[in-house]
């Protein structure tokens, strides 16, 4: 099943539109296409045939929450799941320009987990894998352990931006500033950097933001939100096309707010429950019968087509 295309023709998203809970336990990879302004979903690939991206489109792939080092019953072989996703990426009809990984690369922030993750990610035949940290990557020593393996620009910072194919990409770290009883936050230093970085970008430039935890409050009792996301959203609002790609919640959800489309992605390790269900009080790994797990993990291909407002995305499960 594809994710909805909330900004398609004739669609006028209401501000503060209610959560469009796609929570399909079936998708997996999302292909993003940016053609002309905003990422558009290309369509579902469960049937095996991704919709073709425009030839001039910038196409890239999102993966998330690999949790390398996890070895419990919910998925005893997370490396195997990642390698299956890599095989899917290599089988795409249009080679993606790069891959983004939206955090929780490791499970326990251990150096050997980061090293193994880096080695396996290097097997992906793309120019580059852009990563951002999740809270599992910052457990013992803040983001320092992660940066020893995944320092994007060699500047010792876990946030960054780059331009490619006419799109301005921003990687954020919203797993710092954990304070008791609150949700995670970006923090003042990063907000200030984001403001300065966006000041140099024209409002007609499509923006793609990567952040691990959703930049909207999905479910506060589980910490599924970013305490100071409103400040970041205010900085993004003037732009005509903004796509926010999140991980963390191990399922596909979408929200549209004005010209900002926020999407979460499946994990490549294990599923989590949809929040707010009666009797399910915590976001622990969900154990599913053998043969079902591959349907709940997945990747996402995205394309940006110049001249179009939306990014195209295809969520694809590891196993249809």
């Amino acid at each position: 099943m594809s994710t909805n295309d909330p900004t398609g023709p004739g669609h006028k998203p209401a501000r503060r539109q209610a959560l469009n809970c796609l929570a399909t336990w079936t998708g997996a990879a999302v292909v993003w296409t940016v053609a002309g302004g905003v990422p558009r979903a290309l369509g579902a690939t469960r049937e095996g045939t991704p919709a073709a991206a425009a030839k001039n489109a910038l196409t890239f792939v999102q993966i998330s929450d690999t949790h390398i080092g996890f070895h419990k019953e919910a998925n005893p072989d997370v490396v195997g799941s990642l390698r299956r996703a890599i095989a899917d990426i290599h089988a795409l009809p249009q080679t993606p320009a790069f891959v983004v990984h939206t955090g929780d690369v490791s499970h326990l922030s251990k150096p050997e987990e980061f090293a193994q993750a880096r080695d396996v990610l290097q097997e992906i035949r793309v120019d580059r894998v852009h990563t951002i940290p999740g809270e599992h990557d910052t457990i013992d020593d803040g983001v320092n352990g992660y940066l020893k393996f995944f320092d994007h620009d060699g500047k010792g910072k876990s946030w960054y931006s780059f331009d490619q194919g006419g799109v301005h990409f921003i990687g954020l770290n919203n797993v710092l500033n954990f304070k008791m009883g609150t949700m995670a936050a970006l923090g003042d230093e990063q907000i200030t950097w984001l403001k300065g970085s966006l000041a140099r970008v024209s409002h007609s430039t499509p923006i793609v933001v990567l952040a691990h935890i959703p930049l909207w409050t999905v479910w506060e009792p589980w910490g599924w939100g970013t305490a100071d996301s409103a400040q970041a959203m205010a900085l993004l609002r003037p732009f005509g096309s903004v796509t926010v790609l999140n991980g963390h919640i191990h399922q596909v959800l979408q929200k549209v707010e004005g010209h900002i489309a926020l999407q979460t992605e499946r994990s490549l390790a294990y599923p989590l429950h949809t929040p707010g269900q009666v009797g399910i009080g915590e976001p622990g790994p969900v154990k599913v019968p053998a043969g079902e797990l591959g349907k709940l993990l997945g990747t996402r291909q995205l394309s940006v087509v110049r001249g179009q407002h939306d990014l195209a995305l295809i969520d694809k499960p590891l196993e249809a």
């Binding site: 922030s109 008791m180 009792p221 009080g281």
Partner: protein, 121 residues
Amino acid sequence: MIYELARNAAHPLLACAGLVLVFCAVFATPAIGVVAPPATAVDIKKFAFAPKEITVAPGTRIIWTNRDETPHTVTSTNKSFASKGLDGDDKFEHTFTSEGDFSYFCTVHPFMTGVVHVRKQ
């Protein structure tokens, strides 16, 4: 015969005495500081500390055990104690020597909070 019995009987006594001496040498001197203080268990289960709030006497050792499959930490807000990331079944312990209220949380899931009240009883 009698001598033999006496000698044989003396052996276990001597052995016992020796053991007592060894015991004293090893354990008696440092007993004041080294003997494990009374321990109290706190479970980390279903993304919560159980019990969430606990009152103990000074000198109590608290042992936290992560019963979840998800990593958690035990991190005090005043930095007086902090565990590493605890994987499933990992333990962390801290001995509370002075009176006070010690709040703590999990840095991975900051909505998980707990407090240790240390009071003379």
